[in-house]
């Protein structure tokens, strides 16, 4: 009994490195969320589809296909999944997040500078001069293209107090 449990755990650990197994799990999860959301809404009938009619069915189908992919992936001798690169993920998401928080309160120029600095936080290669130049040039391009070229109504500098 204990042995089957441990071999199951082993099998599971091996499967977790299988690319298609993980893909299947992801689809299963997305399908399950869609199904749950759809089930909570008015269904209606095929002739008069309610808002939940399609979500429920698409979700169920997606979950079912996800399950099939996961089972096939766990069984088959398919390629394993590569390592996820932590730093690049962090840099890209942090850069966008910082920009999102800064754009309305701090204005376009500081937000752009913060985005560039956050994005470059993982690759400091090159001198400080290079980084400064990059910030200045990109901020200038953005101001010229979006503020003056396209006329986007966004403040350039912090607006508090104003």
């Amino acid at each position: 009994m204990a042995r089957t449990a441990s071999s199951f755990a082993q099998q599971l650990r091996a499967s977790l490195r299988q690319r298609d197994f993980l893909a299947g799990l992801l689809f299963l999860f997305l399908g399950a969320v869609t199904t749950l959301e759809g089930a909570g809404l008015h269904q209606g009938s095929a002739e008069r589809m309610g808002p939940g009619y399609l979500p429920l069915r698409i979700g169920l189908l997606l979950a079912a296909i996800g399950l099939v992919i996961a089972i096939k992936g766990a069984r088959g001798e398919r390629a394993g999944v590569e390592r996820f690169a932590g730093l690049p993920i962090l840099a890209a998401t942090a850069a966008l997040t910082v920009f999102g928080f800064a754009i309305e309160d701090l204005g376009l120029i500081p937000a752009s500078a913060l985005l560039v600095l956050a994005a470059r936080a993982i690759s400091w290669r090159g001198r400080a001069v290079e980084l400064t130049a990059l910030v200045v040039v990109l901020a200038a391009i953005v101001v010229v293209v979006f503020r003056y070229g396209l006329g986007v109504p966004v403040p350039l500098w912090p607006t508090w107090g104003a």
């Binding site: 690319r19 893909a23 992801l26 689809f27 997305l30 399908g31 869609t34 959301e37 759809g38 809404l41 008015h42 095929a46 002739e47 008069r48 589809m49 808002p51 399609l54 979500p55 698409i58 979700g59 189908l61 997606l62 296909i65 992919i69 999944v81 590569e82 996820f84 690169a85 730093l87 690049p88 993920i89 840099a91 890209a92 998401t93 850069a95 966008l96 997040t97 999102g100 928080f101 754009i103 309305e104 376009l108 752009s112 985005l115 560039v116 994005a119 470059r120 690759s123 090159g126 990059l134 990109l138 391009i141 953005v142 293209v145 979006f146 070229g149 396209l150 006329g151 986007v152 966004v154």
Partner: protein, 501 residues
């Protein structure tokens, strides 16, 4: 009939011929090429990045500029494929093979020149074919009812699954994920919110700019960043650009064959530029006297696929404008842009907005002229741009993503959502799930739901409407057959081999 054609072309010319439209066409081609040339920025990302710039323009001008961006990005992608062996998208994979081999032999200029000339010839012929045949197709499409539209889109989605890289089952799942994302927001019929998880920022649905920038733009940056820099093989020497007589003699037949293949494949819903260039490459290889030259810098291997690629890129607009059916990720983005402009593509577009339709056709040809004028003398500049280190580029791309997304909706929530989609897109890359079917499902999903609903309201819930109308039943049957054959193991193996080539 032919009088009509000339009148229509004259109308198109009068639309494009204004200084401002010509300027935007040129700006589109230039920007598309400049951004498309940058390493690690494929055509899909280029278009997604530049889309927000067109939203403030009048509809006709916007679509003319978008078309320019589209060709520019395609050509820029071929340039990186030839000089750096970095195909930005599947359609330039085959160009990279022989084009880069030519570049290593010191004939980069000739490869680029032939690509430009081939693209120009293909673009000219394809534009003429479009002008001749799209009225007929649109006339035919006028007969389409909601049931037929639904069937057509279903067929298009199956086509996207067929063309997706990797496991077909995963591609089907990706279409469904796209459909699910497309459902997010307020249901048109009941006015009820669905799948918004109580977030007010999702009440209007997920903007396709957010989804596409995140899924293809941000995710590619993350994936590129994990590769060590400096491993790229770059060819400094360009050499002469204008091909000599021998090169032209070797290339003109492949160019014409590629144009034919591309024009045909571009019109088919679901098919697209990549399938056209793959087919052209294998045709050229098959009829070559010495197939072993392919892979080692055969000029036919550049001339054929590049012409096919460009012809298909253009005839793609036929199903896009007359049926509202995108054939790949790039045209799906264009469809989204049209929708934002308030233009509903469909067979009625030629009658309701003839200036738009014929303007686009004429602008295609003018865009191609500009592409040649721009590219032949500027190849050296493009080559230098390719040497820009990625550590300068990716902050710039992220910045343009962020501002682009923000300017479309003026909400910061969309910027955060883009980061989320970037993360998801990266997971999809790691799990080898092609994002193209997802984008297609995302854009077509709401349209399919509406047509499905309308079809059943007209017939008061009679499902026979889908099998009693000849167009609908044919398309649905074709889609079903395609789907079944795709899932059968024997045919799947053949497809895998074809994709490896």
């Amino acid at each position: 009939m032919s009088m009509d054609l000339w009148n229509n072309l004259a109308l198109g010319l009068s639309v494009v011929g204004t200084w401002s439209n010509l300027a935007y066409c040129f700006a589109g081609v230039l920007l598309g090429t400049v951004v498309g040339v940058l390493p690690g920025v494929g055509p899909v990302v280029t278009i997604a990045l530049l889309l927000p710039m067109t939203f403030g323009l009048p509809a006709v001008t916007a679509i003319i500029m978008l078309a320019g961006i589209y060709y520019g990005a395609q050509y820029g992608g071929s340039t990186t494929a030839i000089l750096m062996k970095l195909p930005g998208e599947p359609s330039s994979v085959v160009t990279a093979i022989d084009g880069h081999a030519m570049a290593q032999r010191g004939e980069a200029g000739i490869a680029l020149g032939i690509a430009a000339i081939g693209s120009f010839i293909a673009g000219t012929i394809a534009a003429a074919l479009m002008a001749l045949f799209s009225p007929t197709l649109a006339h035919f499409a006028l007969e389409f009812g909601p049931a037929d539209n639904f069937a057509l889109m279903a067929f298009g989605l199956v086509g996207a699954v067929v063309l997706a890289r990797g496991e077909p089952l995963k591609a089907i799942a990706m279409v469904l994920v796209g459909l699910a994302f497309g459902l997010v927001g307020t249901d048109v019929a009941s006015n009820e919110e669905r799948m918004t998880f109580g977030l007010s920022s999702l009440a209007d649905g997920i903007s396709f700019v957010v989804a596409s920038m995140g899924l293809v733009g941000v995710s590619e940056i993350i994936a590129n960043l994990e590769k060590p820099e400096g491993e790229r093989t770059f060819q400094r020497r360009i050499g002469r650009i204008w091909p000599d007589r021998a090169a032209l003699r070797a290339a003109w037949k492949p160019i014409l064959r590629g144009t034919g293949i591309g024009s045909l494949f571009g019109v088919l819903p679901g098919a697209g530029a990549s399938l056209a260039s793959f087919t052209s490459y294998s045709v050229e290889k098959k009829i070559a006297r010495d197939p072993s030259r392919f892979g080692n810098g055969a000029i036919e291997g550049v001339a054929g696929p590049e012409s096919a690629n460009n012809a298909a890129a253009q005839t793609n607009f036929v199903p896009l404008l007359t049926l509202g059916l995108p054939s790949g990720a790039t045209t799906a983005l264009l469809l989204g842009a049209l929708t934002i402009q308030g233009i509903v593509p469909g067979p009625q577009i030629m009658e309701q907005k003839p200036d738009l339709f014929w303007g686009v056709i004429v602008s295609m040809w003018i865009g191609n002229v500009m592409l040649v004028i721009l590219n032949l003398p500027l190849v050296g500049v493009w080559a230098r741009m390719m040497q820009i280190p990625y550590r300068w580029l990716y902050p710039a791309i992220l910045l343009f993503c962020a501002i682009g997304v923000y300017t479309v909706s003026n909400t910061t929530a969309d910027v955060f959502l883009t980061a989320g989609f970037g993360l998801l897109g990266y997971v999809f890359i790691k799990l080898e799930c092609d994002p193209a079917p997802l984008l297609l499902g995302f854009i077509l999903g709401p349209l399919m739901e509406e047509n499905f609903r309308r079809a059943l309201i007209i017939t008061q819930g009679d499902f026979h409407v889908f099998v009693s109308r000849p167009i609908s039943v044919t398309l649905l049957a074709a889609a079903t057959v395609l789907l079944i054959t795709l899932l059968l193991p024997a045919i799947r193996r053949g497809r895998e081999i074809a994709f490896q080539e």
